[in-house]
């Protein structure tokens, strides 16, 4: 039995410690907002925060996460930055299929916590681990800027 702190609540899970957080969240606990995309930390769809840092949950074994603070997309809206990002995403119509956007927002939220007014280059660097196959990148960049109060520019 491993104890996980997800979105401020403690949960006991009874799966082997090497099980990645992604599948524990999705299959064992029902937090399906965190998405599977590659299983190798190549696409960013599964990004969550662990103690405030962005982590690819598909490669994070739960044994390494006992009692660390895990935040998923389901709770990011209770954070000021997360809420601003969600609002900008909706306002600018960023999502197409929407599947990767949980991970995009989690990566963006981690960036803005570190860099409240990121430059284009900083946005590119922080976000290039997140793939969007629909190709919403120009709007993602604009939404990040809008959420920080900067001019979103052309979308």
């Amino acid at each position: 039995m491993i104890q996980l702190d997800i979105n401020g609540k403690r949960h006991n899970v009874d799966v082997p410690g090497e099980t990645p957080l992604l599948w524990t969240l999705r299959d064992e606990m029902g937090f399906t907002g965190t998405k599977f995309g590659c299983g190798m930390a190549l696409c960013g769809a599964c990004t969550v925060h662990v103690d405030g840092q962005p982590v690819r949950s598909c490669l994070a074994p739960i044994a390494s996460l006992a009692n660390r603070k895990i935040t998923t997309i389901e709770a990011i809206g209770s954070d000021r930055i997360g809420k601003a990002l969600q609002a900008a995403w909706v306002d600018l119509g960023v999502p197409q299929c929407g599947y990767c956007q949980s991970g995009q927002i989690m990566s963006a939220a981690a960036l803005l916590r570190r860099k409240p007014k990121p430059t284009d280059a900083e946005i590119d660097e922080a976000m290039s681990g997140n793939i969007c196959r629909c190709g919403t990148y120009v709007r993602i960049r604009a939404a990040i800027k809008q959420a920080t109060g900067q001019n979103g520019g052309a979308r």
Partner: protein, 769 residues
């Protein structure tokens, strides 16, 4: 009536329709397998049907099917097409709400199950949803509005001419009395549905939502908060999780296997053999061994522990390097002539100069961010399916057939799709889940494809060599044009031995090129498929446009002409060209009269994109502009790409200007979004994407090998210019036509920047110093 109500009297849902179209080689892709082998008697009897009439199960505009109104006034509108990022769950209901005079804030959307007899065609591909269902959805909303007005008039005992529906209530004009839709719903629903011909559609100038771009995406808030439900997210009580080991070579099968170690993996419960199907794959599973477990991770670990001997079958030697040479060899010899205008041989013999070039595009994978996933439960003689399906009726029929059940006993629930791009029109994964569920006594089973499954076992975009030859006059103008297109056909996945491009592939920018060139010969030599070929967003338009638009730019350069001016000259004066005179019997399934190839519209997108991009402006060293235009899915798109190539050969894209003429637009912001997304995908196709085969096996395993565009490689800016449209004219497609111009425009820009001509995609390190 202000908008023409097209083909109103056509009976809905006739199987013969699609059969007829298939035998003309004109079937919509989704109808392929339903339609093989119809007798010639049927052919002779059926007049041609176009548009939604030509699709399996046609269209339905019954308001009682699509609209329901609750006592509190909440309007629920059914969306029968699949949402995969194109915004259809916002756009389709918006059309109904517009004619219904509903208040969008009080509209809810319900996703239809797969049931084409009830809803009309649901196969969401071919960029067809809006152009095929704009009229039926308008009629649906107008009929419901008419019924509400009639109910109010009856309640007030006044002539119906004195009442008017407006913003979710009906008003009695002389007295100002009002009744909300909720109060009228029950009485209205009991009234007869008005005759289609009697409906009064709104004047488009009175539209509040359609064309306005004032509504946010219906699913936006759920998509940014983790609440949106995709196929892979389905959870049912007692559900088991499965992954499948499939034959690594197309046409292979399990020779023997040992599951002992797999069954010892904690959490693994069962292994189930899935039988493949002999012959073309169609929508059948490839076969293999499923591992069933308590969660996806355990199932994957169990699969890793399987010991399987494969019988690789006839495609074990498939090798992309060798196959490229095979295609090139075919492209250098005469092949089946599919269009022949004037006399190419004579004209080319008398030409001042001759040019030739060959262009190559490898296999591509859809790589939807949500890999295929489906859940099936079988209980008391009924089967229920949940998943991300572009074609839920196909899923229903295929599952029913495999289980030996009637389709009526199979319910297919459609979730959101985490990307589709054509992959999810093929419901093989639903059939896998059905087989596994049946093997575990009908318990709910979710089959999830991992990324390597997705890249190894896709219905791949074909691989192609396009050879172009031209004879030009002394001014460099082409007098003779020869295009040999060589690519395994999609039909090979459905018909054993199919080895020529079908009319629908040739009609994607090979034969239906409307250039002002008097002598044209188009040939299609044979090509044999060695893997599962399918349709990928924009389909054959991608290689065809890449070759044609690159070659025109090469001819311009050889003539020392401006690329844009030369392209306009080759297109020639504004005129309407019948697809039939181009040898195109398909015309994207649309009527040749309603949808001729309009070179005026093609010219206009070229001019619009060029002007917006500042064509002709001076650029610093290492920068260049390139242009390309392409007609597909009955829409016209041109793109100007600006590239910067540094001295290491690194390409960045500061800006792209896209001009699109798709007729009038229902949701202009989604048109912009589709063009932006198509541009990014086109950049990926040009720069990075490639599936290659060795020893019959797809080589790329994940996003490290199958690279797609990431943020840093995406254009910094994508400006979309939508040409004004008119709702009295037929609508064009939007989801796909944005992709084809991008790779040639990008390569033409690279030529302008560096003088280096790219003829083989992906570009990767071809520009390295």
């Amino acid at each position: 009536m202000n908008a023409p109500v097209r083909a109103m009297n056509a009976p809905v849902t006739i199987a013969n329709v699609s059969r007829r179209r298939f035998l003309q080689g004109a079937s919509a892709l989704g109808g392929l397998v339903l339609v093989v082998g119809t007798s010639s008697a049927v052919r002779a009897a059926d007049p041609p049907k176009y548009g939604a009439d030509g699709m399996p199960n046609g269209w339905v505009d019954d308001p009682l099917t699509f609209v329901s109104i609750a006592g509190d006034g909440t309007v629920t509108i059914v969306c029968h097409r699949a949402e995969m990022g194109q915004g259809v769950r916002t756009g389709m209901p918006m059309i109904v709400a517009e004619e219904l005079e509903a208040d969008w804030k009080r509209v809810r959307v319900r996703q239809a199950t797969g049931d084409e007899k009830r809803y009309g065609n649901q196969d969401t591909d071919g960029s067809r949803s809006t152009r095929h269902f704009f009229d039926p959805m308008r009629q649906c909303g107008a009929a419901a509005r008419t019924m509400l007005e009639a109910a109010a008039a009856a309640r007030w005992k006044v002539p119906v001419s004195e009442v008017e529906a407006k913003n979710h209530e009906v008003v009695h004009r002389p007295t100002g009395r009002r009744l909300g839709y909720g109060a009228l719903a029950k009485a209205a629903a009991a009234l007869p549905v008005p005759a289609r011909e009697s409906l009064k559609l709104k004047d488009p100038s009175k539209f509040r939502y359609v064309g306005k771009g004032n509504l946010k995406l219906l699913d936006g808030p759920d998509m940014v908060s983790g609440k949106a439900q995709y196929g892979i997210d389905v959870r049912l009580p007692g559900m088991l999780y499965a992954v499948v080991a499939r034959p690594p070579v197309y046409g292979g099968k399990v020779a023997s296997y040992d599951a002992e170690a797999a069954l010892k993996v904690p959490g693994v419960m069962r292994v189930v053999e899935i039988e493949g199907s002999p012959g073309p794959a169609e929508f059948n599973p490839l076969g293999g061994i499923a591992v069933v477990a308590r969660n996806t991770w355990a199932a994957t670990q169990g699969r890793n522990a399987l010991k399987i001997q494969w019988d690789d079958g006839p495609n074990a030697a498939y090798d992309s390097v060798a196959f490229k040479a095979t295609l090139e060899e075919a492209a250098r010899k005469p092949g089946k002539v599919v269009r022949n205008d004037g006399n190419y041989d004579t004209a080319v013999a008398g030409a001042a100069r001759r040019h030739q070039a060959e262009y190559y595009i490898p296999h591509l994978a859809h790589a939807t961010m949500e890999p295929p996933a489906a859940t099936v439960r079988i209980e008391a003689g009924k089967c229920e399916v949940w998943g991300c399906f572009q074609s839920p009726q196909a899923a229903r029929d295929r599952v029913a057939k495999r289980l030996g059940m009637s389709s009526a006993d199979v319910t297919v629930n459609v979730t959101l799709l985490g990307g589709g791009f054509g992959r999810k029109s093929k419901p093989d994964y639903a059939v896998e889940a059905a087989v596994v569920s049946k093997a575990v006594d009908g318990k709910p089973v979710k089959v999830t494809w991992t990324r390597d499954d997705d890249l190894h076992h896709d219905y791949f975009h074909t691989v192609s060599v396009e050879r172009l030859e031209a004879g030009v006059d002394t001014a460099g103008r082409p007098l003779a044009w020869m295009h040999r297109s060589v690519a395994p056909t999609i039909f090979s996945t459905f018909v054993a031995g199919a080895n020529h491009e079908a009319p629908l592939e040739l009609g994607m920018g090979v034969i239906n090129v409307p250039f002002a060139i008097p002598n044209v010969r188009i040939e299609n030599p044979e090509a044999t498929a060695h893997t599962r070929i399918g349709w990928f967003r924009s389909v054959s338009n991608i290689p065809h446009a890449f070759a044609v638009q690159s070659f025109v730019a090469e001819l311009a350069a050889a003539a020392g002409r401006d690329q844009k001016e030369f392209l306009l000259d080759v297109i020639g004066p504004a005129r309407q060209v019948s697809p039939q005179t181009l040898g195109d019997t398909w015309n994207h399934g649309e009527s040749p009269e309603l949808y001729p190839v309009d070179t005026g519209r093609l010219r206009r997108v070229v001019e619009t994109a060029a002007q917006a991009a500042g064509w002709g402006r001076t650029l610093p060293k290492g920068r260049g502009l390139g242009i390309a235009a392409h007609y597909s899915f009955v829409s016209y798109v041109a793109a100007v790409v600006e590239v910067a190539v540094d001295d290491q050969g690194q390409v960045t894209i500061p800006r792209v200007d896209v001009a699109v003429d798709c007729g009038a637009t229902v949701n202009p912001d989604r048109v912009r979004a589709q063009m932006q997304g198509a541009c990014v995908m086109g950049v990926g196709v040009a720069m990075k994407e490639q599936i290659s085969f060795k020893d019959g096996r797809a080589v790329q395993n994940n996003f490290d090998g199958y690279e797609v565009t990431r943020m840093a490689g995406a254009p910094r800016e994508i400006r979309v210019h939508i040409l004004p449209g008119d709702f009295s004219q037929p609508l064009g497609g939007v989801g796909e036509p944005g992709v084809p111009p991008i790779p040639p425009a990008l390569c033409n820009a690279i030529f302008a920047a560096t003088g280096k001509r790219i003829r083989r995609l992906p570009i990767r390190d071809q520009l390295k110093a």
